[in-house]
């Protein structure tokens, strides 16, 4: 599943596709209908496109609603990122220490095991 922004963009593009196709079909049926006096298929198509378009509009509305209300300023985001990078480095350093400790402990245990 794509992210919300891409979904929203896809929905908007789809909306334009529906517009295009619905008018295209109207035009396509127009010549035949004047001869045959209207058909059931065009009513069906109209209902189909009406429901597709209203559905897409609702989807777009829902997707917009799901976007974040207040955006953080780029500066604030950058600050958060800097903090996170720093915290990450501390954690990484700590992890390295712990691993070294564990490795040396393992080495000692193995060493002893060999001497037995």
């Amino acid at each position: 599943m794509a992210d919300r922004l891409t979904q929203l963009q896809d929905a908007v593009t789809q909306m334009s596709d529906y517009f295009c196709n619905s008018i295209g079909i109207l035009q396509q049926n127009q010549t035949t209908e004047t001869k045959e006096g209207g058909g059931e298929s065009s009513t069906n198509n109209a209902t189909l496109f009406a429901s597709l378009i209203s559905q897409t509009a609702t989807d777009i509305e829902t997707l917009i609603e799901s976007l974040p209300d207040q955006e953080y300023t780029p500066e604030k985001q950058e600050e958060t990122l800097k903090n996170l990078v720093a915290e990450n480095q501390v954690s990484g350093e700590k992890l390295r220490q712990v691993i070294n400790e564990a490795e040396s402990m393992l080495k000692q245990v193995r060493l002893y095991h060999k001497t037995i």
């Binding site: 992210d3 922004l5 909306m15 517009f19 509009a57 209300d69 958060t80 996170l84 402990m105 095991h113």
Partner: protein, 227 residues
């Protein structure tokens, strides 16, 4: 043979990087620093898929720069404007349909189509303005996850080490007892537990008896260092 290999590589959807390049980055070469450095970041103009780009360009070019009419005010709430646009698009489409019904050949029709396309461009533009924000937020989530993973790893290792130490400590007590009381056969079993390693000791009980004193004192000394 070589031709066949390169041909099959050329038809892959995701071909391997050229081997003359990546083969330069062996462990030794990277360590000694003789591996080629990554190319410097491009400054100024460059081309991507034939289209010219400039590194100084704004991430998202404003609508005015692209000669598109801007349909929302300078100060705006993106969500509110997006919803307005969404509705305007629907209304515009209905109006277009009305024109098509009443007077298909009128010049109004082309105006309406133009309005509709401007509305769509504006909407896409507003959505795209969220992208830089989204990129930074994604980065934040990745960093947070990375940090959490590291912290969890630290906890796991610490816990394992503590467990190993308690086992070694209990071994210390039982080994002290062993030196004075227990026969050699059980001794071997105890030492296997102590070692914590998966290898199986292949000593036999008869010879163990002879050096159990000096060796076990070493072990006790060693285990003491963990207290």
């Amino acid at each position: 043979m070589k031709m066949a290999a390169s041909e099959s590589e050329a038809t892959q959807a995701f071909p391997n990087p050229p081997s003359i390049l990546y083969k330069l980055y062996t462990d030794e070469a990277v360590e000694s620093g003789s591996a080629p450095k990554p190319p410097p970041p491009v400054q100024g103009h460059y081309q991507m898929f034939g289209a010219p780009f400039n590194t100084g360009d704004a991430m998202i070019r404003s609508l005015e720069e692209q000669n598109v009419q801007r349909l929302y005010p300078q100060q705006y709430d993106k969500k509110v404007e997006l919803k307005k646009l969404n509705r305007s698009i629907l209304i515009c489409f209905l109006e277009l349909l009305d024109i098509l019904i009443d007077n298909p050949s009128s010049p109004e029709r082309n105006d309406k189509i133009k309005d509709l396309s401007i509305l769509f461009i504006n909407m896409h533009h507003l959505i795209n303005e969220y992208r830089p924000h989204q990129a930074r937020e994604t980065l934040r989530v990745v960093l947070e996850r990375q940090k959490r993973q590291r912290d969890e790893m630290i906890q796991q290792i610490t816990r394992a080490m503590e467990k190993a130490q308690t086992i070694l400590k209990t071994c210390d007590g039982s080994l002290k007892q062993l030196i004075t009381t227990l026969p050699a056969a059980e001794d071997e079993q105890e030492e296997m537990e102590t070692s914590q390693a998966n290898e199986k000791t292949d000593q036999n009980p008869v010879t163990l008896d002879s050096f159990v004193d000096s060796q076990d004192r070493d072990l006790i000394k060693y285990v003491d260092t963990f207290k």
